[in-house]
């Protein structure tokens, strides 16, 4: 049982100096003190930068874009190829850097689209209530009734296998979660005095929603979005594992596991590296999500060091 008060290393000097300390500032302060969160951030930045600067980082950019190198088929990890080569002799590390482009992009795009559709709908639904609320909620019910991966597969097949269509299909299964989250938040906000006050002095509804409701739901949405990035990457990988999504010769992690699984028992480095990349990125986003959630919660923020 510790009786020592946690070391409150809040930016005291700033506060004393009369600077305004924002909520985000405090979150960042709490976040920085969580070693797992920082590690996750480093891993993610590594993958993101690796994907962006892939052509500059690898000696085999043409293999990253898909050119075969048949002389070196299935060579195990060695000095020239740190993670070995694939069934067409291409450098696996290079393929992973290039594959990160679509795998990471799908995570971010899916979440962004889901937030853009889900959040406004949730705010409107919660703020107005009545038949609008009812209608929106019944629509979310329908989407949530489907197993998400299957709905994405069906939609992507209907639209045709491609990166954009996969992204659209997954986003379609994702937005209702944000609608529900924001609606619940809005419902409780609506009862609060500052909204009541704004309404009583005649502030128009759209203005209340944009300047009072939305800013106040951003923190839970941010927490959810961070967690969902991992989930969206996982679903994206699953969809391309099945054969929809990015098509060869372009690289994609899910697609790499899908092709490499046939050789996996004898040559695990190919599918294994791609699978590990998916796992690491998803894990990092999940840890990051946990950390953001803890940092956003004033109750846990204080004991980031002491507890856990």
């Amino acid at each position: 049982m510790t009786t020592v008060a946690p070391d409150l290393e809040i930016p005291i000097e700033d506060i004393k100096a009369g600077k305004r300390v924002t909520e985000y500032h405090l979150m960042w302060w709490a976040f920085r003190r969580d070693p797992l969160a920082v590690l996750s951030l480093v891993i993610l930045l590594g993958f993101i930068l690796g994907a962006i600067f892939a052509p500059n980082l690898t000696p085999y950019p043409e293999q990253g874009r898909g050119d075969p190198n048949l002389l070196e088929k299935f060579s195990p990890p060695n000095q020239g190829h740190l993670l070995g080569t694939d069934y067409l002799g291409r450098d696996v590390l290079t393929r992973i850097l290039y594959g990160g482009r679509s795998s990471l992009a799908i995570g971010f795009l899916v979440v962004i689209v889901a937030v853009l559709i889900g959040v406004p709908l949730g705010a409107i639904s919660g703020y107005y209530g009545g038949w609008i609320d009812n209608l929106v909620m019944r629509i979310t019910d329908i989407f949530l009734a489907f197993p998400p991966l299957l709905l994405a597969i069906a939609l992507a097949s209907a639209l045709g296998a491609s990166f954009t269509n996969t992204m659209i299909a997954i986003s379609f299964t994702w937005w209702p979660w944000y609608t529900r989250l924001v609606r619940a938040q809005t419902l409780s906000l609506r009862e609060r005095y500052f909204i009541e006050a704004a309404r009583s002095i005649g502030v128009p509804s759209w203005k209340i929603i944009t300047s009072h409701v939305l800013p106040n739901v951003m923190t839970p949405v941010m927490v959810q979005a961070t967690m969902d990035l991992g989930g969206a990457i996982l679903v994206g990988a699953a969809v391309s594992f099945i054969g929809l999504g990015v098509q060869p010769p372009l690289a994609d992690w899910g697609q790499m596991v899908s092709i490499g699984r046939i050789y996996f028992i004898e040559r695990p480095w190919y599918a294994g590296s791609a699978g590990l990349a998916i796992f690491l990125v998803t894990l990092a986003f999940n840890l990051l999500g946990d950390a953001v959630r803890d940092a956003a919660d004033p109750h846990t923020r204080r004991v980031v060091d002491v507890g856990r």
């Binding site: 197993p147 998400p148 991966l149 299957l150 045709g160 099945i242 054969g243 028992i265 695990p268």
Partner: protein, 340 residues
């Protein structure tokens, strides 16, 4: 009779959702594709095929007529014909579904048996090494792509240790000399019912790895949910009252507290069930498991659009049914659910 009212209300809601789901799948099948008739007959269609399909599906008619026809077909069990197998989709599904269900049920069983006790203990001993350990398992479990886990299990148990088979539902030997008599097409049940214990043992051994891989995500979900609700419940006054009246800690945790924590956990299990259904698609590919997942994956590769839409619909119906059952179960576990 409040309970009956509640159950009826849930059923009506489930039917409403079923109808809405049929509308959405109708849109996916007949409206979203740029050329629905071509999509329906498969890759490289001939002009005659397209014309025939247009007529059959009523694609020249207004949408509500098309939907009416779609529903009539569905209710009479006509899900269309597979482009690849040229079989009625319903009979294909009847062949493949039991294998998937067997896998999913065994996986869920493992998840419940491992996940809930671990969640209870880590909630009860918050901050202990056990709690940290299960936290690690659960966060790794939700981050692990299920296909990678399947491959790693194969590498360890088949390649390195040589303990368990690589895939398939039974070994070739058993398939040839001790074939399972198909009754339900779930091998464990069928072989047990017919007393074919050689096949039962073989089928069980083949189930271990895919079921374990499939169970990981639900285990993680069950741990997380049980843990957080246990922490909440253990702070309740009735738990303090029970401890003060000398009830054994084991009974406090696993009877008095767990029954309160189980309702939110059941909801999580409903979610876990969907992930298992969809995870099964990926697992079946890895373990050459002849179930719906293999069927739908082959459909994706063969651009067998009617199959994809029908499997989606069937699995969704299953999911809705499971959620309905969980809702009803809740009404029996927690009497307060009915009033709320």
């Amino acid at each position: 009779m409040q309970r009956l009212d509640y159950i009826l209300k849930r059923m009506v809601m489930a039917i409403f959702v079923l109808i809405s789901v049929s509308i959405l799948t109708f849109f996916i099948a007949r409206v979203v594709p740029s050329n629905p008739a071509a999509a329906w007959v498969g890759p490289h269609p001939t002009k005659e095929q397209i014309e025939k399909a247009t007529l059959e599906l009523g694609l020249d008619k207004p949408l509500y007529v098309q939907y009416q026809r779609y529903m009539q077909d569905l209710l009479s069990g006509d899900l269309g014909t597979s482009v690849r197998t040229h079989q009625p989709i319903l009979s294909d599904i009847k062949t493949f579904l039991p294998a998937t269900l067997e896998l999913v049920f065994v996986g869920m069983l493992i998840a419940v048996l491992i996940g809930i006790p671990l969640g209870v203990l880590s909630g009860a001993f918050k901050g202990s090494w056990l709690d940290h350990f299960t936290r690690l398992i659960s966060i790794a479990g939700v981050s692990m792509p299920v296909f990678l886990l399947g491959l790693l299990l194969q590498l360890l148990f088949f390649r390195q240790l040589g303990l368990l088979p690589l895939g398939a539902r039974v070994s070739t030997e058993v398939a040839l000399f001790h074939p399972v008599t198909p009754i339900t097409r779930m091998y464990l049940i069928d072989s047990a019912v017919t007393g074919n214990w050689t096949a039962f043992k073989d089928a069980s051994i083949h189930l271990i790895l895919p079921a374990l891989a499939l169970a990981t995500y639900p285990i993680a979900l069950a741990i997380r949910m049980t843990r957080s609700t246990m922490i909440e419940v253990l702070n309740e006054k009735y738990i303090m009252a029970a401890r003060i009246s000398g009830i054994r800690e084991r009974s406090v945790l696993f009877i008095l507290a767990l029954k309160n924590a189980i309702v939110p956990t059941l909801n999580a299990l409903g979610l876990a069930f969907v992930y298992s259904l969809t995870g099964a698609i990926l697992i079946e590919i890895i373990f050459s498991w002849p179930g719906l997942g293999t069927y739908v994956t082959n459909a994706v590769l063969g651009v067998d659009f009617p199959v994809i839409v029908s499997v989606t619909l069937i699995m969704t119906v299953f999911y809705i049914a499971i959620n309905l059952i969980l809702d009803i179960l809740q009404a029996f576990i927690d009497p307060r659910v009915i009033i709320g």
